[in-house]
Symmetry: C2
Subunit: 459 residues, 2 copies
């Protein structure tokens, strides 16, 4: 193997739920490094071609690994045991890598600083004043904490939006996860840069710097229609088209912002996004709580990627419930996000699957909606933004809350939590094994200490 | 120590949240066996006195242990290190034992057998036909699984209602937990006994058999107003009064049952329970979803113990939301329950605290309701049914989802899950340490295997 990684065989795994949610029992899973690894020049050539053709694919789709499964693969494929890393799959369940579709991971630092508060107080008294104190180095530390938490919980890919984006990229690469990191834009500036023009220029630079990263997709993130003008959205759209990258934004999270826009321009947010030409498959739209049936149809028809954050919406209590069934019945593409840890307060997508299911069942007075398969699909949907989900997460089934197994998928969605994750393999690389990080313990402890130190300046 | 147990010192615990929810940092916790252990005759004498005085106290209030905390207790109390078991409290948070206020633990066996189904189909097609196949031995095995799961998740005390109650008692004692086990009564009988008179007699026998158990409170459980006649409720009331035990029932879980009762007797369920004389401090009322403001006042005024099951109510989607704020504003005593694992699907009270908070915030469009302290109180409320909560649960804080700690109580309610429990001490006895059971591994594995085997007869 050119990259020095061994092939991995997960031997006799009790259950394997594949990307199509089919269940396979007592089989081996072989994760092979592809023999031909693209050289840097080849990757760049490919990227340039992509950029010109504007194909709806990304270089991140290029995967180094190939996953196959079946019975007794060692014998069938005549594998040399000393060449492969063997993991015991007994009493374990393999699932694809989990995907956190909308988050702000440096906000781990603000976890628990402002619970049980009204949204305005939450933002004005706690979040914004303390965010203003964060340095680049702080954001890097907070990002490491977020990546470590997601890795522990089997989240291999996340969709991020926060200032000091370069620091987030660095932390993500350090821990070994995959991410779309979108550079945030607000008309009144961000801690990155107060002047809007310079901020947009920094965004372009950030995209350029990261467009060739293998496991990082840069994106552009006009924050929301109430913080970005039409001109700003159009500038962001151009950056998105020019670089063939996604445009990530908040939309219709609260009733207030919808009414405000209607009062200002006599249009609802989704119609507005359609008018300015960003309502397409490149749009990553977070929240979509306060939308009409007509807006739900438009989002679905245009293949917008909808990022649903049930816990955050419930905890901030901005009212209403995203019309999941109206969206799904129109074929919408929905993924689950935790939102930032200041409004969740963790990054556990397994839990988010259950919460989503409970919220919509309860809201609709209908236990059949948002069923097990729907929740699972929403939790592993990293391919929706251009990644290849060839990651494997092993859950440890050797615990009474998984006994008995009448329906393994039910046990994952309705019984499991992030701590049940035992092993995480990203792109053929083992990052967590037996619930233990492969990273140096000293590095982890130092990171924890740094994060705790940062909170001393909060009030 | 007469009972052979060592005193326990938790040394330098990072955080200790006591029963009044006060936070103590970096202190020792000393769990001492009381030097004077009551002899059997003394216990019986005390019980008989209690019965006659009808005092609102139970023998379970007699605790063998005494908990104190402070800095450097070894030195201050001049303790002999070789006489005590020392547990390292570094990077741990101690909380009181968690309490599962309403559950049917043998239904672990039916976990995942019937998700995402309408209530009627759930009951008629899946739950009842398969429950009918359960033997006493099966119920014992299912109860062991439930107790093991609760122990793993820091639940030291639970409030149970299911047929073959003696088996549940046996399993609870085997694992070492505390429980109120209420004998279920239905007019058309239960698998215990089809004839109502004989069923009531069995109930009396069950109460008599268990009234002297130290960590078991027997109770009587007329199932619900739609399965028990007025006469049955009154017979149960008499058993409750005669033995000074609680009466545990389901009430106003679905809109259907409320309307049905109104059509039949022109009364709402809480008014009905008041009329027949059971609306008092001995009543354990599960669900209370479909109640009016007036009913909420009555429940509160009469000091009824309200057992709230947010996950189960949401998952079964029987509609509506328990009016938690109307109850709390009237001073109601509310505790959290998981309900049976067939409608949850686990027994994790830490998770239930967050779900309760999210549900009511979201329902009321108000993030300030059901705040951290309220959720915590509801999760450790075993004293409401007559137990002394002198159990200690240690949570392992050495995980990124607890970093940083801006507010330890927030981290417990909004970030933690059952798997974060590290050590469980019930009545001065360590039942779980370093996330490992003190029970024999072979016993646990055999129990798992038996539980899986039982599911083969389900359809």
């Amino acid at each position: 193997m050119e990259n020095g990684l061994k092939n991995i065989l997960i031997k006799n795994v009790s259950y394997y739920i594949d990307g199509n949610l089919n269940i396979h029992q007592n089989c081996d899973i072989l994760i092979e490094q592809k023999t031909k690894i693209l050289k840097d020049e080849e990757i760049n050539l490919k990227k340039n071609n992509l950029k010109e053709s504007m194909a709806d694919e990304s270089i991140a789709n290029e995967s180094n690994v190939n996953i196959t499964f079946g019975k007794s693969l060692i014998e069938k494929k005549n594998l040399n045991k000393s060449d492969i890393k063997i993991i015991d799959g007994k009493r374990k369940c393999a699932i694809p890598g989990l995907y956190n579709a909308h988050t702000h991971i440096p906000m781990t630092l603000l976890r628990g600083i402002s619970d049980d508060m009204a949204l305005n107080d939450w933002l004005n008294k706690k979040i914004w004043p303390n965010e203003a104190k964060l340095t680049k180095e702080d954001v890097y530390t907070g990002s490491l904490i977020g990546c470590l938490e997601m890795l522990r919980f089997g989240v291999t890919t996340f969709n991020e939006m926060y200032f000091f984006s370069e620091e987030i990229v660095t932390a993500t690469k350090e821990v070994g996860l995959k991410a779309q990191v979108s550079y945030p834009i607000m008309d009144f500036g961000t801690p990155d840069e107060k002047n809007l023009d310079r901020l947009l220029n920094s965004a372009k630079k950030f995209v350029k710097n990261n467009i060739n990263e293998k496991n990082i997709l840069p994106g552009i993130a006009p924050h929301a229609p109430y913080t970005c003008s039409e001109e700003t959205y159009i500038e962001c759209k151009e950056i998105s088209i020019e670089n063939n990258i996604n445009l990530h934004t908040h939309v219709s999270e609260t009733r207030y912002e919808v009414v405000e826009l209607e009062n200002k321009i006599n249009m609802r947010p989704i119609d507005y996004l359609e008018k300015i030409g960003v309502l397409n498959e490149k749009l990553n739209a977070a929240h979509c709580v306060w939308i009409t049936k007509d807006e739900a149809k438009k989002l679905s028809k245009n293949n917008v990627k909808i990022l649903h954050c049930p816990t955050s919406n419930m905890k901030l209590a901005s009212g209403g419930v995203m019309p999941a069934m109206e969206l799904l019945n129109n074929g919408a593409n929905i993924s689950l996000g935790t939102d930032g840890p200041a409004s969740n307060n963790n990054l556990d997508i397994i839990r988010e699957m259950k919460t989503a299911s409970l919220l919509h069942k309860s809201h609709r007075w209908d236990p059949t909606v948002l069923n097990i398969d729907t929740a699972l699909k929403m939790g592993i949907n990293s391919e929706s933004i251009g990644f290849k989900n060839n990651d494997i997460v092993l859950l440890d089934l050797n615990s009474p809350h998984f006994i008995p197994i009448n329906n393994i998928k039910s046990n994952i969605v309705y019984c499991a939590n992030g701590n049940d994750v035992d092993t995480v393999i990203v792109d053929g690389k083992i990052l967590l094994e037996n619930k233990t990080y492969k990273l140096r313990e000293a590095f982890i402890n130092t990171t924890y200490k740094k994060a705790c130190k940062i909170t001393e300046k909060f009030n």
